[in-house]
Structure formats: structure tokens, C-alpha cells
């Protein structure tokens, strides 16, 4: 089943065309990568998918809803069905990790405090954080922990879809590989579909099932890792040359 379908997407910033006639689809249960050179609009595409940014033409359909003509209540419903991990975690700096994770639970559901505590501890454990970390503020923890906490918060409502914006950037190689394992574990444990923007060649080989390479405003390649090197594109040839 297709969870995301992007058709003929066009994005323009001022007089700069970012995407023109971009098509892709993401199937249920896969880890889907968005790749491409810097400035090609990977993060822009991700932001358009989560309704942070508007696009000029085409359509994006997520979980059966076309987001270009979505009603406010449908949009609210969609937002509860996905989680987003931002590049630097974007944890609310005035709240502790536990409060960060508990926030959507408190807002969207009527749960007792003990159950919320339990869920928070479970989510922290799921991403590999210690229960004692729960009372720290985002400024007191390392970048790697911040990303883990960000994922824990994104998972708070048990979403079907997870969007990850450069999850391993800024991490040391060991933490980055740990994070790759975490992504794979989460998929096998929760069956969550993930869309990942990444530059990290190791992550690409370790985690992705399918991917889209954006180059020159369009999708230069969409499909699995095995066939990617056969595509004639400067970016693809340079990017994958060393790893062949």
C-alpha cells in the first residue's frame, strides 16, 4: 500500500525553481531515503510533506489525504499520525525530556499521570535512553541524546509514519551507526514507515530499502540500492563511486 504519493510537484522560491514535475511514492513499511546534492530541495520536500511549507503546483497525498486541499480538522488528524525528527532534535527547551515526550500525550489524550509516566519511560527505553535522563533539559544533553529524545517524542503517539531530517548528521561515526541500528530496530518492532533525508553513505547502505535521488529539480532515480549505480547522472556516479 502506498502511504505517500507525490505527483508533478512544483516548488518555486522567488524566481528560483526548486522542484519541477517531481514524482515519487513511498510504500508501507519501508525505509525510504531522499538523497541528492546540497540545495536540491530534499529538506524542502520533507517540509512540504509535513505541511510546514507550501508548494506551487502538483499534489502530495499522505495516508490517503491530499494535503494541498486539506481541511483544518483533517490536517490535525494527520499530524497525530506522523512523527517528525528535526535535524537538531528541536526539543522544547523549556521542558525536560519527559515533559517533551508527555506533551502530545497530555494534549491529545486523557490519561492519568502514572500511565503517562509509564509511556514516557517506555519510549525512552525504546530509543536507548536511561530513565534518569528523563529529568534533564535539552541543553544538558549531547547532540546524539537530543536526537534520540527527538525520536522518542516523535514516537509518543505511536505514529504510522516517521519523517527524519538528517538523523545522523553531526554525530560521531559510532553514534551514527548506533542510530542506524535504532532506526532498523524501530521499524521491526513497531512497523513504522520512515522517510529519511540523509547524506550519510553508510546510513544509506545500512538502512534504506528504497530511495529517491533528487537532481536538477526532478527525481533522477527512484528504486532500490542495487540498481542505482547503473544510472547516468553526475551526482549518482560521484556519490556512489567509492562504495562500489
Amino acid at each position: 500500500m502506498e502511504l505517500i504519493r507525490v505527483k508533478n510537484l512544483k516548488t518555486v522560491f522567488g524566481d528560483k525553481v526548486v522542484h519541477n514535475g517531481l514524482n515519487l511514492h513511498v510504500n508501507e513499511g519501508e525505509i525510504y531515503g531522499l538523497l541528492g546534492p546540497s540545495g536540491c530541495g530534499k529538506t524542502t520536500l520533507l517540509r512540504e510533506m509535513v505541511m510546514l511549507q507550501e508548494f506551487q503546483a502538483g499534489s502530495i497525498e499522505i495516508l490517503g489525504k491530499k494535503i494541498e486541499q486539506i481541511s483544518e480538522s483533517d490536517a490535525q488528524e494527520l499530524r497525530r499520525k506522523w512523527g517528525v525528527l528535526f535535524q537538531f532534535g528541536a526539543l522544547f527547551s523549556s521542558l525536560t525530556l519527559a515533559q517533551n515526550i508527555a506533551l502530545p500525550l497530555k494534549e491529545y489524550a486523557t490519561l492519568s499521570d502514572t500511565i503517562i509516566e509509564e509511556i514516557v519511560a517506555f519510549k525512552l527505553d525504546l530509543v536507548g535512553l536511561k530513565p534518569s535522563d528523563a529529568f534533564l533539559y535539552p541543553s544538558q544533553i549531547s547532540g546524539g541524546m537530543r536526537k534520540k529524545a527527538g525520536i522518542a517524542r516523535a514516537l509518543a503517539m505511536d505514529p504510522k509514519l516517521l519523517f527524519l531530517d538528517e538523523p545522523t548528521s553531526g554525530l560521531d561515526p559510532i553514534s551514527a551507526r548506533e542510530f542506524d541500528n535504532l532506526i532498523l530496530q524501530l521499524r521491526s518492532m513497531l512497523g513504522v514507515t520512515m522517510v529519511v533525508v540523509t547524506h550519510d553513505i553508510h546510513s544509506i547502505y545500512n538502512t534504506l530499502d528504497r530511495m529517491a535521488i533528487i537532481d536538477n529539480k526532478k527525481i533522477a532515480y527512484e528504486g532500490s540500492l542495487e540498481e542505482v549505480t547503473s544510472v547516468k547522472s553526475d551526482f549518482i556516479q560521484t556519490f556512489f563511486r567509492d562504495e562500489r
Binding site: 509535513v50 510546514l52 490536517a75 517528525v84 528535526f86 526539543l91 527547551s93 506533551l103 502530545p104 491529545y108
Partner: protein
């Protein structure tokens, strides 16, 4: 570094420029002025000799290729590395020539752009006000939407904690205005009129303005900095994707908190400034506090007091909305926070004063 890197031999129409030593950007300027003094246009054949050069960097290579093109000079050079640097410089120059077509902007273009930008800022501020209004309607639709906890938190952070400074400032303002007036009034023997003067000026104008200025500097700037920082760390994006409308969570609680609290602060300022006036009247005009208060009741009608308080919510709305708007305008760099915080304070003070002037006109015409 070689002191004299250039040696020239002139033979009628021919000139040979012999460079020696290290040619780097450190002696580029010297070589440039030397060559400029030679007036190369007078010669037909120009030969640049690089045989004795020990090092050539890219900056100097760019300069040499310039010479080569401009005067059709010939470069004599056998070193492979130097030739490589020269070709590199030449190739990049070709690219540069194509891409750099930057015309200098004239005054009209600069003024036009600035005006257009100011216009766009105004439009986007109007859009912001519109969204605040719509969110407010949405707010009122359902009791559950009203976030009492956030409002109370903001009331404490931006008003209760400002009580001390507002009280102290207005006390001092009361003291100063009374003291200045006391001297003049005493000369005419009109001691008692200090009550009329203080009553009207403090209640109507000074207390609301002083309070607004303190709050704009203290809480308005804090709004900009807080929200700006949240924007940089993508916390606002995170809120949106989680379905928490920033207007309901961040914007309205702050505006509502200030709209509720500014009249209260103005009331405190009224009382403190009057206290200052009473003290000065007692000490330098020997007007007892009881006489002061009695006279105040007689001559200053209550409407002046209400006029001052009514300005409060309007000032509060301007200060809070400009502070928050500026916070939301912060871009993804840290400089932008400083820029927008400054703008927020300047613009909100300006807006408060304009609003006060409009009130003056309106009240005068209404005969209040």
C-alpha cells in the same frame, strides 16, 4: 621575500619584464604599481619572463593572466607547476567573465527596494494581525482551547515580575515632575495647583506611557528573543508538525496576559507617581497629604483616571503583537535575533506613542 622582484629591460618598442623570487599576494601590490608606472601601452612586444621565479601563487597568476590579455603579453615560463597555475587562473577567469555581470545600484533602486521591503513587512504584519484575530475567534469557540496555564505563566513572567521596576520608575517620575513644578508654582504662590497638574498629567499621560515604555523594553523584547530562539532551534516547526498551533500556544497567551495586566500595572504606576507627588508637595510646598488628597477629589475628575487605564489594553496589544511578530520574523541565523529584538523595541515604542497621539485626538474631539 625578494626586495625587488621585477627587473625590466627596454629595447625601443620591446620590453621584457623579468620577475624573480617568490611571486605571492604579499608582493602583488608592489609589482602592480611598478608595472603601472611603466605605461605598458607604449610598447608593442611585451615579454613576461618567469625563468627565475621560485614560487607563483594563484593571486599573482591571475594578475599575470590579466597582463597577458590586456597588453597581449607573452609569458615565458618552463616550470610545469607555474604553467599549471597559469592555466588554472585563465580557465577560471573565463568562467568569471561570464557570470559576473553585477551592476552597481543607483540611489533610486536602493530607495525603491527599501520602500518595497517596508511595504512587504507591513503587509506581513497585517497578515499576522489577521491570523491573531482568527485564532482568537477559534479560541473563543471552545473553552478547552483557552490555555489558562500558559496565560497565568505569562502574567507572572511579563507583568508580576515587572511590578518592582514599574513602581520604582513611576515613583521617580512622580517625584521629578512634582519637584520641577513645585519651584515654578511657588513663585506664583499657586502651591495648591500642584494637585491639578499632577492629577491630570500623571493619570492621563505619564503613568500609561511610562508603564508601556518599561514593558516594551522588558517584556516585548523578551517575547522577540524567546520566540526567535525557538524558531532557530526549529521548536516552532516541531510544534506545527505535532499539531500544536503556535498561535494558540505561544502568541495568544502572551497577548492576552499583557492585555489583562497592563491596566493593572498602569494603576500601580498611578499610585506610585501620586505618592511621589504627595511627598514633594509635603516637603517643599508644605501641602499636607490629607489636603493633597482632598483637593485631588475636588478638582481632578475620575474620567482622567479611566482614560489612562483604557489606554492600557491597546498599548499592551501593540507591544505584545509587535514583539511576537518580530520573533516570528527571525531567520535561521543568530544575528537575526539581535536585529529583530532591536526592531521590536523601537517599533513598539513608536507604535505606542502614535497610538497615544490618536487617543489624544479622539478624546479631545469627544470632549473627554
Amino acid at each position: 621575500m625578494n626586495k625587488n622582484p621585477l627587473h625590466t629591460t627596454i629595447d625601443k618598442d620591446d620590453i621584457s619584464l623579468e620577475f624573480s623570487g617568490e611571486l605571492t599576494l604579499y608582493n602583488l601590490h608592489e609589482a602592480e604599481s611598478l608595472i603601472h608606472a611603466l605605461k605598458l601601452t607604449n610598447f608593442q612586444n611585451i615579454i613576461i619572463n618567469l625563468q627565475n621565479v621560485s614560487y607563483l601563487d594563484t593571486a599573482f597568476a591571475l594578475f599575470l593572466t590579466d597582463l597577458q590579455e590586456q597588453y597581449k603579453a607573452k609569458i615565458q615560463c618552463e616550470d610545469k607547476n607555474f604553467l599549471h597555475t597559469l592555466t588554472l587562473a585563465k580557465e577560471h577567469k573565463k568562467k568569471l567573465d561570464k557570470t559576473i555581470i553585477r551592476t552597481k545600484e543607483n540611489l533610486f533602486a536602493v530607495v525603491g527596494k527599501a520602500t518595497y521591503e517596508a511595504y512587504l513587512t507591513f503587509i506581513s504584519f497585517m497578515e499576522f494581525i489577521g491570523r491573531v484575530f482568527i485564532s482568537f475567534l477559534y479560541y473563543c469557540k471552545d473553552r478547552k482551547n483557552i490555555r489558562i496555564k500558559e496565560i497565568v505563566f505569562e502574567i507572572n513572567a511579563s507583568a508580576i515580575r515587572a511590578l518592582g521596576i514599574v513602581a520604582l520608575t513611576s515613583f521617580l517620575i512622580g517625584l521629578v515632575t512634582a519637584y520641577q513644578a513645585a519651584y515654578q508654582l511657588e513663585r506664583y504662590g499657586g502651591n495648591i495647583f500642584i494637585v491639578d497638574m499632577m492629577g491630570i498629567s500623571i493619570f492621563r499621560e505619564l503613568a500609561p506611557l511610562i508603564t508601556a515604555i518599561v514593558i516594551a523594553g522588558r517584556s516585548g523584547s523578551a517575547y522577540t528573543a524567546q520566540i526567535g530562539a525557538m524558531k532557530i532551534t526549529q521548536e516552532i516547526d516541531a510544534m506545527r508538525t505535532m499539531g500544536f498551533d503556535p498561535f494558540l500556544f505561544l502568541v495568544l497567551p502572551r497577548i492576552i496576559a499583557l492585555v489583562i495586566m497592563l491596566p493593572v500595572l498602569i494603576f500601580i504606576a498611578d499610585m506610585m507617581a501620586m505618592l511621589g507627588g504627595i511627598i514633594v508637595a509635603d516637603l517643599s510646598l508644605s501641602l499636607t497629604p490629607s489636603l493633597f488628597i482632598e483637593r485631588l477629589r475636588e478638582v481632578v475628575s475620575i474620567k482622567h483616571f479611566y482614560v489612562g487605564l483604557i489606554k492600557g489594553p491597546f498599548f499592551a496589544f501593540l507591544i505584545a503583537s509587535i514583539g511576537i511578530y518580530r520573533g516570528l520574523m527571525v531567520k535561521d541565523d543568530t544575528q537575526s535575533i539581535g536585529f529583530n529584538t532591536t526592531k521590536s523595541v523601537v517599533e513598539s515604542l513608536f507604535a505606542v506613542i502614535v497610538c497615544d497621539a490618536l487617543f489624544s485626538i479622539a478624546f479631545t474631539n469627544l470632549g473627554i
